[in-house]
């Protein structure tokens, strides 16, 4: 809270909240946790965001643990509360996969489920009061903490690049290298114009993972930023703004997870089916 941290100006407060806890390589070759903007710059690519990785790991493990336990305790006759929830989620994902994915691949539905639940859990971190976890961390001596993994482009791009690799892998597996290259070069104008085709189709192909990552990142980053801005208001005013925004944000949290899942399914379907002539 800015009012209590008198040493911090509003700008510094925002900057501080948008800074990940980073572990990386200093210019002299040694590894350590970064303190201050200069050190973040110094590390460049050779750094890990401990908070992003930590929270996403914990949340991913939580998701898998809960669903694994539900799967182990599945009963056919009398499903209990959590099993019902898991089943409805699985049904929901399965319906989407059946609706959009025409091929046959046992990977797609679990992939969609993982994206859906994991992203929702990571997005949900946005609903934890912005100052709560960083404050606790700072009391324990941790200087920086950014709790929403999906508000870190590294997380969203990490996922979308994984999707991109799968898209290319299955495109080549299903259509052959010739088929895949043909898809990139023979549309939409025919053989003679293949450089133009390659440019158009190449952009189209690359835009998929980029848009997938940036959409999720943008939404969550903006959401988090607004929570931070609201936190700059005097404490007696905060609830009037943060409550509506949090309620609205619940929608975004679920919606972004859903959109990511649907797009993953659609991209997988595109990778599995031959493109028709435009």
């Amino acid at each position: 809270m800015a009012t209590t941290d008198s040493a911090l100006s509003s700008g510094e407060y925002i900057k501080h909240h948008l800074q990940n806890l980073t572990y990386g390589r200093f210019s002299d070759g040694s590894w350590g946790i970064a303190h201050g903007a200069d050190e973040f710059k110094e590390m460049g690519f050779w750094a890990f965001h401990i908070d992003t990785l930590g929270f996403s790991l914990v949340l991913g493990v939580l998701f898998l643990f809960l669903f694994y336990k539900a799967g182990r305790n599945m009963t056919v006759e009398t499903p209990g509360g959590f099993q019902n929830f898991v089943e409805s989620v699985i049904d929901f994902v399965n319906d989407n996969v059946r609706g959009s994915f025409k091929g046959k691949n046992p990977l797609v539905a679990p992939l969609a489920l993982t994206c859906f639940i994991w992203i929702i859990l990571m997005n949900t971190m946005d609903l934890v009061p912005v100052d709560l976890l960083p404050r606790i961390a700072s009391l324990m001596g941790v200087e920086y903490l950014k709790v929403v993994p999906t508000a870190d482009p590294n997380a969203t791009f990490g996922m979308s690049i994984g999707i991109f690799i799968l898209m290319i892998y299955y495109s080549i597996k299903q259509k052959g290298i010739g088929g895949f290259v043909g898809e990139l070069t023979l549309h939409p104008f025919g053989k003679a114009m293949f450089p133009v085709n390659l440019l158009l189709e190449g952009v189209g192909l690359l835009a998929k993972p980029v848009s997938l990552a940036l959409r999720l990142f943008g939404n969550m980053y903006a959401g988090e930023l607004i929570f931070i801005l609201i936190a700059l208001f005097p404490f007696y005013m905060q609830w009037a703004l943060s409550l509506p925004w949090a309620i609205f944000h619940i929608l975004i949290v679920l919606l972004q997870g859903f959109i990511f899942m649907v797009l993953v399914i659609v991209y997988m379907d595109m990778a599995h089916t031959k493109a028709t002539d435009h």
Binding site: P79, P106, F157
Partner: protein, 156 residues
């Protein structure tokens, strides 16, 4: 918002989670759900089959009752007609028997009559013989005139 090694870590984590989900989380849940779907379907089918069977059995039992009623009626009519025919037969038999008895007794009566007549003849002839012998004690020898006497009795 700088891109760094976090991306690689996240990518690896994503791959591992997806793999684990595909291997250990997804299949048991889906299998159990499929199993339940099948069971419900089977149950509904069985219920429908049971209803159908019940209806069939109901129909069948009605048919059986109807048939047995018909059979009973048939048996009763049969029995009645049989009884009637037995009565008829026994009537006929009785009348035949009566006829026979009547005939026999008539024959017996006739025979008895003949017998009695014969006896009477013999007795009369004896009487005549006695009378004659008394009258003709001396003149007539019963031995000599036996033939004549026999002729006489024959003609009687």
């Amino acid at each position: 918002m700088n891109i760094n090694l976090t991306l690689v870590g996240q990518l690896i984590m994503f791959a591992m989670f997806t793999w684990f989900c595909m291997k250990f989380v997804w299949p048991p849940i889906v299998i159990a759900m499929e199993e339940r779907r099948k069971r419900i379907e089977e149950g509904l089918l069985a219920a429908e089959k049971g209803m159908h069977e019940k209806e069939e059995a109901h129909k069948k039992s009605k048919e059986i009752i109807k048939e047995s009623k018909e059979k009973a009626a048939h048996i009763i009519t049969n029995a009645k007609s049989q009884a009637a025919s037995i009565v008829e037969d026994s009537k006929e038999l009785a009348s035949i028997e009566a006829e026979k008895i009547k005939n026999r007794t008539t024959a017996e009566l006739e025979q008895d009559t003949i017998k009695a007549k014969n006896e009477l003849k013999n007795q009369i002839s004896d009487l005549v013989m006695k009378g004659v012998s008394v009258i003709l004690e001396k003149e007539v020898d019963s031995k000599n005139h036996k033939e004549i006497l026999n002729k006489l009795t024959q003609s009687l």
